[in-house]
Structures are given as structure tokens and as C-alpha cells.
């Protein structure tokens, strides 16, 4: 009975019922399938593009890293760390200053550590008193500032002797140093290129005065056994 009723009703209103059912079906498909899938598709497209870009970037980075010679990098690191060390390098600095002053005809009469360095960077101060000819003082100052170890002349004090060209120069020098930074780049961070100018700078540093650490022999002072 019920079925017959339905058939009758459908036959009577099929011009309305059929289009409504079709429209509802289409609407359901659009709302519950097409729109979410399309939205997911566009979202995934962006995500895919991001992953692809990141992968391409890493690909380039890997190529760049693989093209670098590790031994060459180690050598460059040694050169730059010698010029700008990670900690106070008293012995190297004493040796270097002795070498520079004697190379310019000066003799160090006193050397002490102290004073302020360059305020904005990590540095420590060295005060040297040296005796030598006035005519080569400019060369000495230049040698200090162009040496393979980063140093700045902060204060110059000169007193001349009454006779001759000899002077006593008191120089306050800042020796720069800085600890190795903690952040050495993440996987995503771009690889900074070493420019041609920087390569030349490293070559200039490497070609400077090399001061081997063994140059200064530390001789023990005082008794070998203080309780004797």
C-alpha cells in the first residue's frame, strides 16, 4: 500500500521530485567531496612546492658543500683563527711582537698585559715599551697593524732622547679575539659563499708573518721542588 502510494505521489510530482533529488545529489557531491578535496589539493600543492623548493635548496647546498675541499677549509680556518683567535693567545702575541719590533730595529724593554681593548669587540690590551730609531717608528706601527694577528694601536707615547735618532715608544695595543660562535648553521641555513675578496684576504693572512707556537721556549723558573 505504501509503495503504491509512493509511486503515485512520484508519478504525480516527478517533475519536481526528480530534479530536486538530482540537485541534492550534485550538491552533496560538491559540498562533501569536491570542495574538501579541492581545498586539500590546493593546500597540498603549496606544501609540495615548499618541500620541492627546500629539497632543491638542499640539493644545491649539498653540491656546494661537496665541491669544497675540507683540507683547504682546514687550512683557511687555521689562518683566520691565527689572525683572530678564539681565546687570549699571550705566548703567540709576545713572540709576534718581539719579531715585529726586532724586525723594525726596536728592542722591547718592557711588556705587560692590561689596559682596555677595543670596546665593541673582545680584546685585551698589551702595553709595550720599546727603544729604537724614530725614523722607523711609522714602519713599526704599520707592521703591527698589518701583521697576521689582528692588533690595533690604541695609544702612542714617544719620548726622544736628547741626542740621536733613538726614541722610547710606549704603545698600547689591543689584540682582538672572540670565541667560536655557538651557532654553526642549521640544515636549512644557507651556506655563505667565501668571496674572491675574502679568498685574497685569507691568502694575505697566510702570507703574513707566521709565528709558530714553539718559537718561544718556556723555561721553568724557580726551584724544581719548592719544598726543598
Amino acid at each position: 500500500m505504501k509503495k503504491e502510494n509512493f509511486v503515485l505521489i512520484y508519478q504525480k510530482y516527478r517533475m519536481i521530485i526528480f530534479p530536486v533529488v538530482i540537485a541534492l545529489s550534485c550538491l552533496i557531491l560538491i559540498v562533501f567531496v569536491m570542495i574538501p578535496q579541492l581545498s586539500k589539493f590546493f593546500k597540498n600543492s603549496k606544501e609540495e612546492a615548499n618541500f620541492k623548493a627546500k629539497s632543491d635548496f638542499l640539493d644545491t647546498k649539498v653540491e656546494a658543500l661537496e665541491s669544497l675541499d675540507e683540507k683547504d677549509l682546514q687550512k683557511k680556518l687555521k689562518d683566520v683563527v691565527t689572525a683572530y683567535p678564539q681565546e687570549k693567545d699571550f705566548i703567540t702575541l709576545i713572540t709576534l711582537l718581539q719579531k715585529i719590533t726586532s724586525g723594525n730595529g726596536f728592542n722591547i724593554t718592557s711588556l705587560s698585559f692590561g689596559g682596555d681593548g677595543v670596546s665593541k669587540d673582545s680584546s685585551y690590551g698589551i702595553l709595550i715599551e720599546a727603544v729604537g730609531p724614530k725614523s722607523v717608528l711609522a714602519r713599526l706601527l704599520n707592521s703591527i697593524e698589518t701583521s697576521s694577528r689582528l692588533m690595533r694601536v690604541e695609544r702612542i707615547e714617544i719620548s726622544s732622547s736628547k741626542s740621536g735618532d733613538m726614541i722610547t715608544a710606549n704603545l698600547a695595543i689591543s689584540a682582538l679575539f672572540a670565541p667560536i660562535p655557538g651557532n654553526l648553521g642549521s640544515v636549512d641555513s644557507p651556506l655563505p659563499p667565501i668571496s674572491k675578496g675574502e679568498e685574497e684576504l685569507i691568502a694575505r693572512l697566510a702570507g703574513g708573518q707566521e709565528v709558530p707556537l714553539t718559537a718561544v721556549e718556556l723555561s721553568p723558573t724557580g726551584k724544581s721542588n719548592p719544598f726543598e
Partner: protein, 182 residues
């Protein structure tokens, strides 16, 4: 002249029913076609989504491989970072003359040979104090003129002041100059 006469003998109800049937047939065709098209589009989108998911998985796998390769080369990366970090500071100072040394060089050129310097101080701010001896008054004039009027001096020296000037029994002038630089 032959004239065709068309007479519809079917009942009006039958004709109306036929028109309704024809209309419903059109609606059925249109409706089914719509459902088929929408279903096809929905299937296409789902298929594209599946394909895209597959692509994303592949790209993710490649990304993972590349990340792994970068991690294997992290020592080289660290070396490059440290070198670059050091070079940034080295570039600021290496081969660049400090203000104090530049002032010393400049004053060396500007101070006349007649001035017998007994002491010379250039402090952190770049202020110079020169104490010296000159043989005559004209040399004192020349010294001041040289420090204040020469073009290379006017570019770098902002002020020259005589801190002390006296003439000894020996006829020599002892002069103390304070030179402030720009």
C-alpha cells in the same frame, strides 16, 4: 490548388501527457548527465589528490635524503661558518690603519724638521700632544701655520692649541701643542 488540412483528433489530455513525458525525458537526461559529470569531476579531483600525495611522499623522501647528506657534511658547513664569522671582523681591521697611526703619520709629515720633538702622545680619542723645542720665533709661527693651513691638515685637524710656550735662557722655545683631530 490542393490544400492540406491537418486535424488533430487526439484528445487534449493525451497530447498534454505526451508533452509532459517529453519534458520529463529531457529533465531525466539533463539530471543524469549532471550527476555523471559531477561524479566524474569528483573522481578526478580525488585521483589528483592521490597522485599528489604520492608526489609529496617522493619529494619528502628526497628532502630527507638531502637533509641526511647535509648532516654528513656538517663539519664542512661549520668550517665555512667559522671562517665567514672570523672574516667579518678581520675585514674590519686587517690592513686598515687605526686613527692613532694615521694621525702619527700625518703629524710626521706636517711637523717641520726644525721642531725637535721631546715627547709625543696620541691617545685613544685621537688627541695628540706634542712637546718640542724650536730654535726661533719664526719656526713657532711656521709650525702653527703648517698645522692649521695646509689642506691635508684642515681635513683632519679640528683644533690646534698652544698649551705652553716659553723661551729659555738658551734662546730656545719650548712649546707644548694640543692637536685635536676630527
Amino acid at each position: 490548388m490542393n490544400k492540406k488540412i491537418s486535424i488533430n483528433l487526439l484528445p487534449v489530455e493525451y497530447a498534454t501527457e505526451e508533452i509532459k513525458k517529453a519534458n520529463f525525458y529531457k529533465i531525466q537526461i539533463f539530471g543524469i548527465a549532471s550527476v555523471v559529470i559531477v561524479t566524474f569531476l569528483a573522481s578526478l579531483i580525488v585521483a589528483l589528490g592521490v597522485l599528489q600525495s604520492k608526489n609529496i611522499t617522493e619529494v619528502k623522501a628526497r628532502l630527507g635524503e638531502n637533509e641526511e647528506k647535509v648532516l654528513q657534511l656538517k663539519d664542512r658547513q661549520a668550517l665555512v661558518f667559522v671562517i665567514k664569522n672570523r672574516l667579518a671582523t678581520i675585514n674590519q681591521y686587517f690592513g686598515i690603519t687605526s686613527k692613532q697611526v694615521a694621525i702619527y703619520s700625518m703629524l710626521n709629515q706636517l711637523l717641520p724638521s726644525g721642531l725637535n720633538i721631546s715627547s709625543y702622545t696620541i691617545d685613544r680619542s685621537g688627541e695628540a700632544v706634542v712637546v718640542g723645542v724650536v730654535s726661533d720665533g719664526e719656526s713657532v709661527d711656521n709650525l702653527i701655520v703648517g698645522l692649521t693651513s695646509k689642506s691635508e691638515a684642515s681635513d683632519k685637524i679640528s683644533r690646534v692649541s698652544i698649551e705652553n710656550l716659553n723661551r729659555g735662557r738658551d734662546g730656545l722655545y719650548r712649546i707644548s701643542l694640543k692637536i685635536q683631530t676630527k
